[in-house]
Structure formats: structure tokens, C-alpha cells
């Protein structure tokens, strides 16, 4: 592991036991994350993107889920190099929030409706940073300024339902940033927002990443967003990584049929299609699980 590596996911396997049998949600997934860099994880719904990130947080609901294999090597601030699959729940709790933080897809539901935004950010500060109420409030206002929220004194007293989606996501980011995490996991943070707000949130995340030297794991199914923010791209399909590489390689020279299909599915800007293509128009999966590229032009 090099100096700058924050985390290395190695052959991670996570399964879910259901009534119909065992589902391998994450199957031998490996990638690494470096300081100040963003890894983008793309894939369709159910491809295992979120489960990968929840595994890293050890937040897989158990039962039915369980991490059964692989290593999650993490370079922690306090304890040096640890394997997150091996640490105790107590130690893991120390890492959560303090070192690895997370933001979610639905800003509408990721803030608790019964507390004010200020209370929720302050709670994290009081618990993790051992601040008193007054310090926490001052720090919360600073954080709100840092995430570019307008009128922080107002927002600190507001309930989540009084804010717009973009504002809520900023509060959420402030909450995640409150304890200076080294890794920020963003699970589709911009999916529920409209495009202009998306752009400003991405901009903010990039700024925070650079100023705090964090690593970001950015999960999305939006290739436009990936191109915008990621340095390294991991393409997942059915729990497996089908291809990974730098954002430049993936977009200019995709190797795997699935990646090619995914890229080809983007609707063209300059003419209208009668029917939007799907991945199955470009790729066929054989019974043995092998994927074959179909040559087809979109008209």
C-alpha cells in the first residue's frame, strides 16, 4: 500500500440469505481509494454499488446480509492499518462518522424530521468531538458557511421540511464533514436533485475533497456525474466489477461489452430517438454468464 492509499477493498464478498436462497450481492470486488481522489462506482440498480459502500461501513443489515470474504484494509488516523472486517463493533463505531462518513441519495429522508437541522449537526459534534453546546453551535455555523448554505443562523433553527432539497443535502454534507472524515461515501447524493443544483453540489464536494484531502467514494448510475467528479471509475454489474480504470480510459476506450453498452445508452443530444436503447440492445449474456457484444447502430 502506498503512502497515499486510504483504503483498499480486496476481493470483498457480501451475501444476503433470502427465502429463495443465497444472493451474492458483492462478488470479489477490489479497488483502492487514495487521498484527495474520487472513485466513482457506476452500475444499474441492484448491481451491488450500495452494498459495497455499506460493507465498508459495516452497516449491512444482519440478518439477512453478511460479509463472507475479502479484506477491507483501511489506513486509520488513530490505529494505523486495520482490516475493517476484523475489528470489533465497538471499534467500528469509532471509525463511523469520525473517519468514514456517508451521505445519502434522498436528502428528503436522510434528515430526522423531528429535530432542527442545527440539533442534528450539533449532536454529532457533541458526541464525537466532545464539544459543549456553545462550541458545537459555533462550529455548526462555521460548517454551514463552509457548505455554502445561505443564512446559517436561520437554517440552524429550521426543521428539515422547511428547506429545499439542495439545502438539505448541504446540511447532510455539513453533518458528514463535522468530524473531519478521511473517507466520504456518497451514495447517489445528487440523484434526487435537479441538474443545476447537482452541479453546485458536485462543485462543493470537489472543493471539500481538495481542502480536506479526503477520499470520496461516489456511487451513481449517472455517467454524466461520474465524468464530472471521478478520477477512477469502477463499473459494476450483478455484484461483480466488469471494468475499472481512470475516467479517461473508461469514457474514451471502454473494453467490456457492458461498459460499452452503458455508454451507448446515453440519449444523444442533437436528435430525437423513437425508442431509447437499453443495454440489452448492445450486449447479450450467455447462459454461462459470459457477455457478448452485439454490433448495432442506434437510429
Amino acid at each position: 500500500m502506498s503512502e497515499n492509499t486510504l483504503a483498499e477493498i480486496h476481493e470483498l464478498e457480501t451475501i444476503f440469505t433470502t427465502d429463495e436462497g443465497v444472493v451474492k450481492a458483492v462478488d470479489k470486488v477490489s479497488f483502492s481509494l487514495e487521498k484527495g481522489r474520487t472513485v466513482g462506482v457506476v452500475g444499474e440498480s441492484g448491481s451491488g454499488k450500495s452494498v459495497t459502500s455499506l460493507s465498508l461501513m459495516r452497516l449491512i443489515p444482519n440478518p439477512p446480509g453478511r460479509i463472507v470474504g475479502g479484506r477491507l484494509m483501511y489506513h486509520s488516523r488513530t490505529k494505523g492499518l486495520v482490516d475493517l472486517t476484523k475489528v470489533s463493533e465497538h471499534e467500528m463505531r469509532e471509525f463511523r462518522g469520525n473517519e468514514i462518513a456517508m451521505i445519502f441519495q434522498e436528502p428528503m429522508t436522510s434528515l430526522n424530521p423531528v429535530f432542527t437541522c442545527g440539533d442534528q449537526v450539533m449532536e454529532a459534534l457533541i458526541l464525537h468531538e466532545k464539544m459543549n453546546k456553545k462550541q458545537a453551535r459555533a462550529r455548526t455555523l462555521e460548517l454551514f458557511v463552509e457548505v455554502e448554505l445561505p443564512r446559517p443562523e436561520n437554517i440552524i433553527e429550521s426543521y428539515p421540511h422547511q428547506l429545499s432539497g439542495g439545502q438539505k443535502q448541504r446540511v447532510m454534507i455539513a453533518m458528514a464533514m463535522s468530524c473531519n472524515p478521511r473517507i466520504l461515501i456518497a451514495d447517489e447524493p445528487t440523484t434526487a436533485l435537479d441538474v443545476t443544483v447537482q452541479a453546485t453540489i458536485l462543485d462543493l464536494m470537489r472543493k471539500l475533497r481538495d481542502s480536506h484531502d479526503m477520499g470520496i467514494i461516489f456511487i451513481t448510475h449517472d455517467l454524466g456525474v461520474i465524468a464530472e467528479i471521478a478520477d477512477h471509475v469502477v463499473v459494476m454489474y450483478k455484484g461483480k466489477i466488469v471494468e475499472q480504470g481512470s475516467v479517461w480510459e473508461i469514457f474514451s476506450n471502454p473494453q467490456h461489452p457492458y461498459t460499452k453498452g452503458l455508454l451507448a445508452c446515453r440519449p444523444p443530444l442533437h436528435h430525437r430517438l423513437k425508442l431509447l436503447p437499453t443495454i440489452s440492445d448492445f450486449m447479450e449474456e450467455t447462459d454461462s454468464g459470459e457477455m457478448i457484444e452485439l454490433k448495432k447502430s442506434v437510429d
Binding site: 452497516l59 440478518p63 462518522g97 469520525n98 462518513a101 436522510s110 430526522n112 453533518m175
Partner: protein, 344 residues
């Protein structure tokens, strides 16, 4: 968004919704009256004066009574083995006493006025021993309301904790708690209570409250469990876990406040049900000890007098009816106010 509306919390929204239901608001006011009676019963119906001026000294016998009953004080020598009303006979010039509005104790009997129909002196009449019915009802209200509140408090406490654990952790814990709930439900509650009371050595109102509390938690536990199942996968709960909060904090600070509304409604209905059960038990003679007047025991002792003394059953019966009804109306009002679908 240029101007931000003043922060309106969920509670305020619900309060506004609730205030639109006139019947429920009226019921809340009746509950205030009942609470007033509950707190100031000794000042409303008592055979001791509130203030008394006797031979140049001023006394506060009702307050002194609290001291005697609770803090081990003694009555002043002048009043020992004396009834206050007898003292009146040797009042001198300048002596006076202010009595409560109903100057009778619930257990003060006077055979000269037995079985009197309602009159100015006894607004709700007297029973076969000449005791004032209104005074008995005022003191009985204490027992009835106390039973309602304490029993519900006990079972909400048990039910919320068990329901929360079952819903939050699921798995084995859930199975054990659910089976426990089912076992509790299979017992007919009234018979279970009567059996336990019968086995108890002493009859006391505290026993009744505890038994009602220990047998009534199943509904609350099920509601809480169902709400936890719904809320525990919300993003903000995962977010709380992702911030490294302990389970205790996540359960009781982040999930619980979002699950309490149906519990609040059941609790309100529960108060009404507990009052009714206590009345039923007292009526059957299993409830409060005989010297303690409750609405149910008033009804019970009045049963034999039914042809002659209609006032003995009518007023306590009405009191039970009104109390149970207002609690149910408040519960209904709350349920409607908390229902997001009814929001305009």
C-alpha cells in the same frame, strides 16, 4: 426562497389541526376540570375548615391534615379528639371558619341525614349512612384518574421498550417478544386481573394499577414494533448509524420520536379503558379497599338502594360515562390530527 416562514414544528402543526376539532377541545377542557378536582380534592370536599380563627389564633386545618398524613406532624392540642363541627358550638365572638364548598369528608357519616335526595346541603344526596355522595365522588375521582394515568404510564413504558427492541433488532429478539405478546393476549384480561387480585393478600389501589399496567402493554408493544419496522430503514436512521451513534441513542433518540404518535393515541384510549376496568373491579368488590371511595365502589354499594335512591347510582355512573367519553374524544381528536392524510 427569499423569506423563510417561522419555524413550525410538527407539534405545532398537530396542535393547529387538533384545535379545529371543537368536540375534542371541549373534552380537553373537561379533562382540565377533572385534573383540578384531582389535585384540589381536599380543598373542595372536606370536613375540616380551610382557614379558621379560634380564640385569637388562626389555623389552616386542611394544610395541617397534609402534615399529619404525610410528614408525621400532630394535630394542635385544641383539635385533638375533637371534630371541627363540634367546636363550632363553643365559638366566641370573633371566631370564624371557612369551610370547603362541600363541607363533608367522604367517610363522614351522619345517620340523621341518611338517604337524602339531592338538596342544597347535599347536591348529589346522601347514602344509607348519611355520607355525602358528591364528596365521595370528588375523592373517588382521585382514585379513578390516578389508576388511569399510572396504569397507562406503566404499560406504555413496558410496551414501548419491548416493541422497540423487537422492531429494531428483529431476528431472535423479535420472535421471543412476539410470542410473549401472543401469550399475553390469549389470557382474557379481566379474568387474569381478577385472578391476580384474588390471590393478593391486601387489597390496594396500587395493586390494581400495577396489574393493569403489567397486563395492558401488548397493544402498545405491537404498535411500536410496527412503527419501528417502518422507520428503522429510513435514511436518517442509517445516517445515525453511519455517524457511529450507539444503538441506545439511535433507538431512543432518533427512531422513537418518529414512532410515538400511534402510541399517544392508544395511550389516550387506554386511560379511558383503565378507568372503566377499575370501576368494574371496584363494582365487583375486587378493586379499592372498602374504606376508599371510588366511582365503581359507589355504584356497587348503591346497587341495593336502586329503587329508593336513584341519585346514588346516577351521579357516579354519569361521572364514569363522562370521563371515559372525554378521554375517547380526545384520543379520536389526536388520531385525526396526527393523520397526515387529513391535512389540508
Amino acid at each position: 426562497m427569499s423569506e423563510m416562514a417561522p419555524a413550525r414544528s410538527y407539534t405545532q402543526i398537530v396542535a393547529t389541526q387538533f384545535s379545529r376539532n371543537k368536540l375534542a377541545v371541549f373534552s380537553v377542557h373537561i379533562i382540565y376540570v377533572l385534573l383540578f378536582v384531582f389535585i384540589f380534592a381536599d380543598f373542595l370536599a372536606n370536613d375540616k375548615p380551610i382557614v379558621m380563627h379560634l380564640k385569637g389564633n388562626t389555623y389552616f386545618p386542611v394544610f395541617r391534615e397534609y402534615g399529619v398524613n404525610w410528614f408525621g406532624l400532630n394535630w394542635q392540642d385544641e383539635f385533638k379528639s375533637q371534630q371541627f363541627k363540634i367546636l363550632e358550638d363553643d365559638y366566641e365572638a370573633g371566631d370564624w371558619a371557612i369551610y370547603p364548598p362541600i363541607p363533608y369528608s367522604p367517610n363522614e357519616y351522619n345517620l340523621q341525614v341518611k338517604l337524602q335526595p339531592p338538596s342544597m346541603a347535599h347536591p348529589f344526596g346522601t347514602d344509607e349512612l348519611g355520607r355525602d355522595v358528591l364528596s365521595q365522588m370528588i375523592h373517588g375521582a382521585r382514585v379513578s384518574l390516578l389508576v388511569g394515568f399510572v396504569a397507562v404510564a406503566i404499560y406504555v413504558f413496558i410496551g414501548v421498550i419491548l416493541g422497540a427492541l423487537a422492531g429494531f433488532y428483529g431476528g431472535f429478539m423479535d420472535i421471543v417478544i412476539q410470542r410473549l405478546i401472543e401469550i399475553m393476549i390469549t389470557f382474557p384480561r379481566m379474568f387474569l386481573i381478577i385472578t391476580i387480585v384474588a390471590v393478593m393478600e391486601t387489597q390496594s389501589i396500587i395493586n390494581i394499577m400495577v396489574i393493569l399496567g403489567l397486563t395492558g402493554w401488548t397493544g402498545v408493544a405491537r404498535f411500536t414494533r410496527a412503527e419501528f419496522l417502518k422507520v428503522k430503514n429510513e435514511d436518517y436512521v442509517v445516517a445515525a448509524k453511519a455517524l457511529g451513534y450507539k444503538d441506545f441513542r439511535t433507538i431512543f433518540r432518533h427512531v422513537l420520536p418518529n414512532t410515538l404518535t400511534p402510541v399517544l393515541v392508544t395511550a389516550t384510549f387506554g386511560v379511558a379503558a383503565a378507568i372503566l376496568i377499575e370501576s368494574g373491579l371496584s363494582f365487583l368488590g375486587f378493586g379499592a379497599p372498602p374504606e376508599q371511595a371510588t366511582w365503581g365502589s359507589l355504584l356497587s354499594s348503591a346497587r341495593d338502594m336502586l329503587p329508593t335512591g336513584w341519585w346514588l347510582t346516577t351521579f357516579p355512573g354519569l361521572a364514569i360515562f363522562i370521563t371515559v367519553t372525554v378521554y375517547n374524544l380526545v384520543g379520536e381528536g389526536l388520531r385525526d390530527a396526527l393523520d397526515p392524510r387529513l391535512k389540508q
